[in-house]
């Protein structure tokens, strides 16, 4: 197959998008799971504070989600924009 510069660039962009979203999803997945685990532990120990602990958990998970969203944005940029 003949490979033009445009073709090579798009191929690299697709591979980059896959690698970006794939590797980028590892950290938030593990990190959010860790937060959730500690929240379960804390609620088991202190059930009357469940509301506060769940709120803190969701805030922490939202922050840790941000890197996953950065990866998503970069992947979408690589596929559709550049």
């Amino acid at each position: 197959m003949g490979i033009s510069g445009e073709d090579l660039m798009r191929a690299a962009a697709f591979l980059g998008a896959g690698i970006s979203m794939g590797l980028g999803a590892i950290g938030p997945g593990v990190g959010e799971g860790f937060v959730g685990g500690k929240a379960c532990e804390a609620i088991g120990r202190n059930p009357e504070e469940a509301g506060l602990l769940t709120r803190t958990m969701l805030v922490a998970q939202a922050v840790s989600e941000s890197t996953g969203i950065y990866s998503l944005v970069v992947a979408l940029l690589l596929i559709f924009v550049v």
Partner: protein, 323 residues
């Protein structure tokens, strides 16, 4: 070089990848079980036969994933895939990657329930039969990702691709292997840690057996979801029809990128969901009366942790269907 030589080379490489990666997880898991058994025996020397029996049962289950890898490696060495068409080399390497990487998580994961079950039996000898049941159920669930990987390996090895063009189909088959192989690691490992925590907590509070089993199975089932996404993407990649397409480098790399994306994308959420349900089982062991609250918190946390796997699935679908 002819198609047959390519196929042979791919098969040999695939066999090496399958058995090399496939041997890591099971050995680690079995080692962990053995180590904990020695600790348990030193605590209660009179229970040596019962503890040794539990250890051997647990290790046999953990060994399963390595045996899957061995089976695929032997099949790759001794079947002739050349008549499956010009993509046979990619199918062989994909099959090796799928079962090799896919059995890693399940092998190491199966070690956790075995380790905690032998330790638990030495703490609460009266509940040994129930403990063994608990251990086997949780090990069976954490073998599931390895079985998904085996299914994809068999599809890759035995389907007929002779009518499909070499490119981009070869890239799609490699992508299917990577998606399923890497995607199975997290779910297997996380599910195993959950099973281990459930066995440990059950030894602390034998009265919790029903609620513990429910919590463990729900947690493991949610943790299994990312590997099911991987399985779905692998199926789509294998059964896609690329024959009418104009061949370019970027349309060739898109399915490979989709496989890489979904594979790695399922690893983190799978393991993270396992971490959450591990701690939930521990919490239930400490405060059995709060089972409802713990289950609710666990499910909310797992749903949030799942979101990155869903992003990866979306990007994989975009790479397969849109671009």
């Amino acid at each position: 070089m002819d198609v047959a030589s390519y196929a042979r080379a791919g098969q040999y490489l695939g066999a090496g990848l399958a058995m090399g990666f496939g041997a890591i997880g099971a050995a680690l898991g079995e080692g962990m079980t053995g180590g904990f058994t020695n600790r348990a025996i030193s605590r209660r020397i009179s229970m040596t036969p019962a503890l040794t029996r539990t250890m051997l049962v647990a290790q046999a289950v953990a060994e399963t994933s390595a045996i899957f890898a061995l089976m695929v490696a032997i099949l790759l060495l001794f079947t002739d895939m050349a008549e499956q068409g010009p993509c046979a080399w990619a199918a062989a390497i994909g099959a090796g990657l799928s079962i090799g990487l896919g059995s890693f998580g399940s092998g190491i994961g199966s070690g956790y329930p075995g380790a905690e079950a032998t330790w638990g039996v030495s703490r609460q000898p009266a509940v040994a039969p129930q403990m063994t049941t608990n251990m086997l159920v949780s090990q069976a669930v954490c073998q599931t990702p390895a079985i998904f990987a085996l299914v994809i390996s068999f599809l890759l090895m035995f389907m007929d691709y002779s009518k499909d063009p070499m490119w981009p189909y070869s890239a799609a088959l490699l992508g299917a292997g990577l998606s399923m192989g890497i995607g199975a690691i997290g779910s297997g490992w996380g599910g195993g840690e959950t099973g281990g925590a459930a066995c440990k907590a059950f030894a602390r509070h034998p009265r919790t057996k029903t609620s513990m089993m429910t919590l463990m199975l729900v947690g493991q089932a949610v943790g299994q979801t990312p590997s099911i996404f991987s399985l779905m993407v692998a199926f789509i990649l294998i059964f896609s029809n690329y024959s009418g397409q104009q061949l370019t480098l970027h349309s060739t790399m898109a399915p490979l990128a989709a496989g890489i994306c979904m594979g790695f994308g399922a690893l983190g959420p799978g393991y993270g969901n396992g971490l959450t349900s591990t701690k939930a089982c521990e919490a239930l062991g400490m405060r059995p009366q709060n089972s409802g609250l713990i289950m609710r918190t666990m499910l909310v946390a797992q749903a949030v942790a799942q979101s990155t796997a869903i992003y990866a699935l979306v990007i994989a679908f975009v790479l397969i269907f849109v671009v």
